[in-house]
């Protein structure tokens, strides 16, 4: 008998059926991973049987011989406290802010009725999940810890009462790329050590395939297919799975065919960006330090780094929407002035695209006004009819129909909104796009389509791209060269394939390992 078995699960919220016909099993000591995009119902599937989502579950859910479907409130609580441990996506918010790490860990250890653990035992638990200075951490409040450290505390708390099933809902998605592999390895070790069954939820196939024994692919609230991980990866039965696998960038896939770059277009020379510390405190935060990068005409440069590495700050400086405190940005050899001094002709050269597609569009505006906003300023000679015509053209270029022009941003999906943002960026015929994590917030299938769109725009118009990302594998699909940033400095750069094969700097090695 399996440790945990779901049969014909359906989940309803407010009368709407959001998940149906999902069946899966988790064996003791093994990992079953649910893979799906946003709206696939993967989180509902794993949380609702335990009463941790607003939904109502029906079907059969049997954990260690207990039927969760027929359990009342009290029995369900009992099952949660004895049998399961949970790790959630957001380590920043998942711990109670006003309780120390030690008291929360102690509460977790005692949840199944065990006696109060000694301070030494608590410290050992933290050490087991790889935290140094464990004793000191016990008295700290969660906000003193980094994201990765907090997630380790969450894991320690999730297994402190010796559960049989560990449920991990996107445990690494909110973490820095270079930490993800470490956390997944830790979960693997603990699973083996305690013979834990694990139900893992993720949107990212690449991050789980090395860790899951069983794979369950979900889309739109339904099960697409399930089976042993190796079988599904190598011989997917369903078209959706095939497309998902194809859309997931990996480092061992065939290198892309990219155009030949031309003359140098943009250079940064010793660029530094400093911010004053918040409040009246003196001193500066150095976000970017002596950065030198160069992009040729028709070339894509990947600017890769973890969060806080300064990559976005450098991107904004280049796009003229962020400060530059020292050094020089040059366009075809001539200096480009800072943010406030850029004239319209200079603005027209470089356009940005951002991570969050919904926040990139003014919610009060119609799509047509959004897309044609650059034309109003950068091409003041145009009359309204021409602007409309160009907006239509731009929409076609990003594979949207022209009836999107009259829609409001709120009615667009993430992928559609990102296409609108790209249409706005290309409408005034710029030569360089600064793409700040432009595909990171999108589902893998949609993200892959956006990457294809960018490749096509480059091939058609000779566009240069600055592709800012934490994801080396995604960058490899469209970029000629790579520059790696850490703590504000460019620590390594070179041809994409060469750097991936022989990463020199430890930061590069971590990022490559995480992809």
């Amino acid at each position: 008998m399996s440790l945990y078995e779901i049969d014909q699960l359906a989940v309803e919220i407010a009368g709407k059926r959001l998940v149906q016909n999902v069946s899966l099993t988790v064996e003791a000591g093994q990992c079953t991973a649910i893979i799906g995009g946003s709206g696939s119902g993967k989180s509902l599937t794993c949380l609702t049987p335990f009463g941790l989502s607003p939904g109502i579950a029906s079907g059969a859910m049997i954990l260690d011989g207990i039927d969760l479907a027929s359990a009342d409130h009290q029995q369900l609580r009992n099952a949660r406290s004895r049998l399961t441990g949970f790790v959630f996506q957001q380590p920043q918010t998942a711990l109670t802010p006003h309780l120390t790490v030690g008291s929360q860990l102690q509460e977790a250890a005692m949840q199944a009725g065990s006696p109060r653990p000694s301070r030494k035992e608590l410290a050992l638990m933290l050490e087991r999940v790889g935290l140094t200075r464990a004793d000191e951490r016990l008295d700290q409040f969660p906000h003193r810890l980094s994201g990765g450290e907090r997630q380790r505390v969450m894991i320690a708390a999730a297994i402190a009462h010796h559960p049989k099933l560990l449920i991990a809902d996107e445990p690494t998605s909110a973490l820095d790329a270079s930490l993800r592999a470490e956390i997944m390895d830790l979960l693997d070790e603990l699973r083996a050590e305690h013979q834990l069954g694990m139900l893992l939820v993720s949107h990212d196939l690449a991050s789980v395939e090395g860790h899951a024994d069983q794979l369950v692919v979900m889309a739109k609230g339904r099960l697409v297919e399930k089976g042993a991980t190796r079988t599904i990866i190598t011989r997917p039965a369903k078209d959706y799975t095939r497309r998902l696998i194809a859309a997931t960038p990996r480092l061992d896939e065939a290198p892309p065919k990219l155009g030949q770059p031309g003359e140098p277009l943009l250079e940064t020379v010793d660029v530094g960006v400093e911010f004053p510390r918040p409040g009246w405190r003196s001193g500066k935060i150095r976000a970017v330090v002596n950065a030198d990068i160069m992009i040729r005409q028709g070339e894509s440069l990947a600017l890769v780094g973890g969060s806080g590495s300064g990559k976005s700050t450098l991107g904004r400086a280049i796009a003229g929407i962020g400060p530059v405190t020292s050094g020089e940005i040059r366009w075809q050899g001539a200096p480009l002035p800072g943010r406030r001094q850029r004239n319209l002709a200079m603005r027209q050269l470089i356009q940005p695209v951002f991570q969050d597609p919904v926040a990139s569009l003014d919610p009060q505006w119609r799509v047509e006004d959004i897309v044609s906003e650059p034309l109003r300023n950068l091409r003041p000679g145009l009359i309204a009819v021409d602007r409309s015509e160009m907006a239509r053209q731009a929409m076609l270029e990003v594979d949207l129909t022209e009836d999107f022009l009259s829609r409001s941003p709120a009615s667009l999906s993430g992928g559609q909104a990102q296409r609108v943002a790209i249409a706005r960026a290309v409408i005034a015929a710029p030569q360089l796009l600064v793409l700040d994590e432009a595909t990171s917030a999108l589902d893998p299938l949609v993200g892959a389509e956006i990457l294809d769109l960018l490749l096509r725009l480059q091939a058609d118009n000779g566009l240069s791209l600055l592709f800012i990302t934490h994801d080396v594998a995604a960058a490899r699909r469209i970029c000629h060269r790579i520059a790696v940033m850490e703590e504000g400095r460019i620590v390594e750069s070179g041809a994409m394939q060469a750097v991936i094969e022989h990463p020199k700097h430890p930061a590069t090695q971590r990022l490559v390992a995480a992809s």
């Binding site: 796009a319 603005r347 990139s360 009060q364 650059p374 950068l378 943002a421």
Partner: protein, 262 residues
């Protein structure tokens, strides 16, 4: 629609009555009916009776409500203009300027404000204009804080950065992107400022520091009623009840609006 916005409809009805009643009543609010001093309620021709010197209660209520609402609207508008200008400037410029401007707001917040207003009234004489300028200048603080918070949040949004990259001038960004996006919240807080102002104005008038005779306001009526309540409780209960009703209705509407926009 009417059922949902019953509180607002009630206030509008009260305002309409206050404006129109004088045209239908044979008595003006400061006219003394020597034949009917201290007339009880429902005695012809005074529906709510007369006060201790024979003035018609209904006419006085209408006049008081008129002034109270007028002062409230004018002062709320002052607070709206000052609050948005201050908050938007601090939020948009940011950095040390913002730090300084918001410290000033924080400092003013910590003041015993009513006392400063009272001082103002004493110093500059008790004119109705000063009443609402004074109150408006007090009540802008919350508006400034809210607007500043909204602008700070909006400024970080990528669509503002995209507009800058698209060459949109700063003033256009503020007018076309920022202001439309904070309008809803500003409206909600404007709505919530009105009852605040009604409260302050009545408070000042109650103490004899606000609206002056021969003009009257709900606060003055409450004061007159309180002084005479052992003889004629109606004189206190009528204006007091009306004032509370207006305050409750405006607060409910304002809070609904605020919850919708935030």
């Amino acid at each position: 629609m009417l059922k949902r916005h019953l509180p607002l409809a009630l206030v509008l009805l009260i305002a309409a009555l206050a404006l129109l009643l004088p045209f239908f009543l044979p008595w003006s609010y400061d006219q003394i009916d020597w034949d009917a001093v201290r007339a009880p309620a429902f005695s012809e021709p005074h529906i709510f009776g007369t006060d201790d010197i024979g003035r018609d209660r209904l006419a006085r209520l209408a006049a008081g409500t008129r002034i109270t609402l007028l002062v409230a609207m004018a002062a709320a508008l002052v607070s709206l203009v000052v609050g948005i200008a201050w908050g938007a400037t601090a939020g948009w410029i940011g950095g040390k300027v913002d730090e300084l401007m918001m410290r000033i707001v924080d400092g003013l917040y910590a003041l015993p404000f009513m006392f400063i207003v009272i001082l103002l009234m004493v110093v500059f004489g008790r004119s109705i204009l000063l009443v609402f300028v004074g109150i408006g200048l007090v009540e802008w603080l919350t508006m400034a804080r809210v607007v500043r918070g909204q602008v700070m949040a909006l400024k970080q949004r990528p669509f503002i950065l995209a507009a800058e990259a698209a060459g949109t001038p700063s003033t256009t960004i503020v007018l076309r992107h920022i202001l439309p996006n904070i309008a809803g919240v500003a409206l909600a807080y404007l709505m919530l400022t009105v009852p605040q102002v009604v409260m302050v104005e009545s408070f000042l008038s109650f103490l004899g520091l606000g609206v002056q005779e021969p003009l009257t306001s709900l606060g003055i009526l409450v004061k007159e009623g309180a002084d005479d309540m052992d003889m004629a409780p109606l004189g206190l209960l009528l204006p007091g009840g009306l004032l509370v009703l207006i305050l409750v209705c405006l607060t409910i509407e304002g809070e609904r609006l605020r919850d919708r926009f935030s």
